[in-house]
C-alpha cells in the first residue's frame, strides 16, 4: 500500500491533512530537497508539491521523471503561483510532438 504526500509552505498545505494526505511543511529550498529525497525513498506513490517550490526544484524533479513511481505533481499554493503545472504539461507536448500544438491558440489570444 502506498501513501500520498504533500510538500509546500505550511499555509498552502495544512488543509490536506484533513482529507488524509501526509503533509510535510517546508520553509525553504534546501529543506524541500531534503524532504523530497526522503519521501522518494519511502513508500510514497504520489507527491504533490506547491508550484512555488516546484519551480526551484526542476532539476531534482527531472531525476524522477522516467520512473513510474513516485508521480510528482505540482499544485497551486496560497501564494507564489508560477503556472509551473501548466507549463509542465506544455513541456510534455513539446517533447513528444516537437512543437506545442495544444496550447497554441491560447497563447495567441493572450
Amino acid at each position: 500500500m502506498y501513501k500520498i504526500a504533500v510538500i509546500g509552505d505550511y499555509d498552502s498545505i495544512y488543509g490536506f491533512a484533513a482529507v488524509g494526505l501526509d503533509t510535510f511543511p517546508v520553509k525553504d529550498h534546501t529543506q524541500a530537497v531534503k524532504q523530497l529525497r526522503q519521501l522518494v525513498g519511502e513508500n510514497y506513490a504520489i507527491i504533490y508539491i506547491t508550484e512555488a517550490l516546484a519551480g526551484d526544484l526542476t532539476q531534482e524533479l527531472d531525476r524522477y521523471s522516467s520512473d513510474m513511481l513516485p508521480a510528482i505533481v505540482p499544485i497551486p499554493g496560497v501564494y507564489g503561483n508560477t503556472g509551473a503545472g501548466m507549463a509542465n504539461v506544455k513541456r510534455f507536448v513539446e517533447q513528444a510532438v516537437g512543437s506545442d500544438i495544444i496550447f497554441n491558440n491560447e497563447n495567441q489570444t493572450k
Partner: protein
C-alpha cells in the same frame, strides 16, 4: 558514408541484404509504434490539460476557504482541529501497458467509507468556514489523484515518443541509406569483377585459338 572499409564479397552482400530487411521491418514497426503512441498521447494530454485546469481552479477556491477559516479562528484552534485526521487515504498502484510504456493506474481506498465523516473535530469551537474548506478539499481529492495518474502517464509517454522518434529517424536517415549504399557498392564491384573475368576469358580464348590454328579474326 564510405568511410568504413567494405568487403566486396558475396557473403558480405547477403549479410547486408539481410540486415537491410531487418532494418526496414524495424523501421516500419517503430513508425507504427510512434504513430499509435502519438495518437494516445494527444488524447491523454488533452484530458490532462482539462483536468489540471479544473483542479487548479478548485484548489484555489479551497485555499480561499482556508484563508477565510483561518481569519475567524486562531492558528492554535486550527492546528488542534486538524491535528488528528480521521480520513486516511491508502493507495494501490497497478501498471497498464500502453505500447510498451508502463503507466501507473492508481486505486484509492479511504479509511472512512462515509464521505461526510471527514471532520476531525467537534463543531463547537470551529467556524463553518473550516467545514466548507475541508469539504471543498475532500471534493477535489479524486480529481487530484486522477491528475497525478494522467500527468505521470503523459510524462512517460512523451519520453517514450521522443525515444521512438529518434530511433525511427536514425533508421530512416542513417541506417537504411547507409546499407543501401553499401549493397549497391558491393553489387557494382561484383558485377565489375565478373565482367573483367569474362573479358579475360575471351582474351585467353583468342590467344589459344591463335596459337592452335594460327587463326586471325
Amino acid at each position: 558514408m564510405a568511410s568504413t572499409q567494405i568487403n566486396p564479397t558475396r557473403m558480405e552482400l547477403t549479410r547486408l541484404k539481410r540486415k537491410l530487411v531487418t532494418a526496414r521491418r524495424g523501421h516500419k514497426l517503430l513508425k507504427d509504434k510512434r504513430d499509435e503512441l502519438m495518437r494516445q498521447f494527444l488524447d491523454m494530454v488533452r484530458e490532462n490539460k482539462a483536468l489540471r485546469e479544473r483542479v487548479e481552479k478548485n484548489i484555489a477556491d479551497a485555499n480561499k476557504n482556508f484563508v477565510l477559516a483561518s481569519a475567524s479562528a486562531s492558528v492554535e484552534v486550527l492546528k488542534v482541529a486538524l491535528m488528528a485526521p480521521k480520513q486516511q487515504v491508502s493507495l494501490s498502484c497497478s501498471k497498464r501497458n500502453v505500447m510498451s510504456v508502463e503507466i501507473p493506474v492508481f486505486e484509492t481506498k479511504m479509511k472512512t467509507s462515509d464521505a461526510n465523516d471527514i471532520y476531525s473535530y467537534g463543531f463547537a469551537f470551529t467556524s463553518s468556514d473550516l467545514d466548507d474548506a475541508v469539504k471543498s478539499l475532500a471534493d477535489i481529492l479524486p480529481d487530484m489523484l486522477l491528475l497525478a495518474q494522467k500527468e505521470k502517464s503523459c510524462q512517460m509517454m512523451a519520453q517514450e515518443i521522443e525515444k521512438t522518434r529518434r530511433r525511427v529517424n536514425a533508421l530512416e536517415h542513417v541506417m537504411i541509406p547507409d546499407l543501401e549504399y553499401k549493397i549497391k557498392y558491393i553489387s557494382m564491384k561484383l558485377d565489375e569483377n565478373e565482367r573483367s573475368t569474362q573479358v579475360r576469358l575471351m582474351k585467353v580464348k583468342d590467344m589459344m585459338l591463335k596459337r592452335a590454328h594460327n587463326y586471325h579474326y
